[in-house]
């Protein structure tokens, strides 16, 4: 079946612009995660949803970052007033179970470049 998809794959934004990144998880997957990956580093946790509930947003770096999953399926990560330090690859992952220890399936990521 289809894996996790993300769009757009690449996004270039001018500093100060708002961006919205979309994640389509695997159908039926309960859990959804967002990560930020800087060049040469491992992914850093941003936030976690169980269905439509955002159970953990402790990794969001500032109040400019906002994520939602209103119907428990597609999720959007929004970054307001983008800054150069927001440049990174944003990865989305989903897992079948509600338990946070299940295997995560990752999307290809959205590479965000802020000029």
């Amino acid at each position: 079946g289809a894996g996790v998809s993300q769009s757009p794959r690449y996004k270039v934004a001018k500093r100060g612009q708002d961006v919205a990144l979309r994640c389509d998880p695997i159908s039926g997957h309960v859990s959804l995660f967002w990560y930020q990956q800087a060049l040469g580093q491992g992914p850093e946790f941003l936030t976690y949803f169980q269905n439509e509930a955002q159970l953990d947003k402790s990794g969001l770096p500032s109040d400019r970052f906002f994520a939602e999953r209103p119907e428990g399926s597609v999720s959007t990560l929004k970054i307001q007033r983008t800054q150069q330090e927001d440049s990174a690859v944003y990865l989305c992952a989903s897992s079948l179970e509600a338990a946070t220890t299940d295997t995560q399936y990752f999307g290809p990521g959205t590479r965000l470049t802020v000029l």
């Binding site: 859990s31 850093e44 946070t100």
Partner: protein
């Protein structure tokens, strides 16, 4: 700071050789997972080992876990050029209902044909 740290940061070997990567972490865990990431791609799950397990195999992969030393190793046997990628360990803290897993910065493996 990252909980998991991989060692070495970079590894270059010839095809057919074995590759060993290590991961150290700081706090008690529920499980530890290894992932592979090809350049410009998302992560692919390789293997999960639970805190009460000591060794696990999957094809050419062998993972060990030593909770007393808070470390894990990933062994790839008979490596192939297609194994060239970055490898990350990720840990799930013990006794948490939060979603926060922690990844290390990875080991970049190059397998020369």
């Amino acid at each position: 700071s990252q909980q998991g740290e991989e060692d070495p940061q970079a590894l270059s070997i010839q095809e057919g050789e074995n590759a060993t990567m290590n991961c150290s972490y700081k706090t008690s865990i529920n499980n530890l997972q290894w992932y592979r990431q090809n350049s410009g791609r998302g992560l692919v799950h390789l293997i999960l080992i639970r805190s009460n397990e000591r060794e696990k195999h999957s094809g050419r992969l062998r993972v060990t876990l030593d909770t007393s030393k808070k470390s894990s190793s990933l062994l790839i046997t008979a490596s192939r050029a297609a194994d060239t990628a970055s490898y990350f360990c990720a840990t799930w803290p013990y006794n948490t209902n939060a979603g926060k897993s922690t990844f290390g910065d990875g080991t970049t493996l190059t397998v020369k044909p």
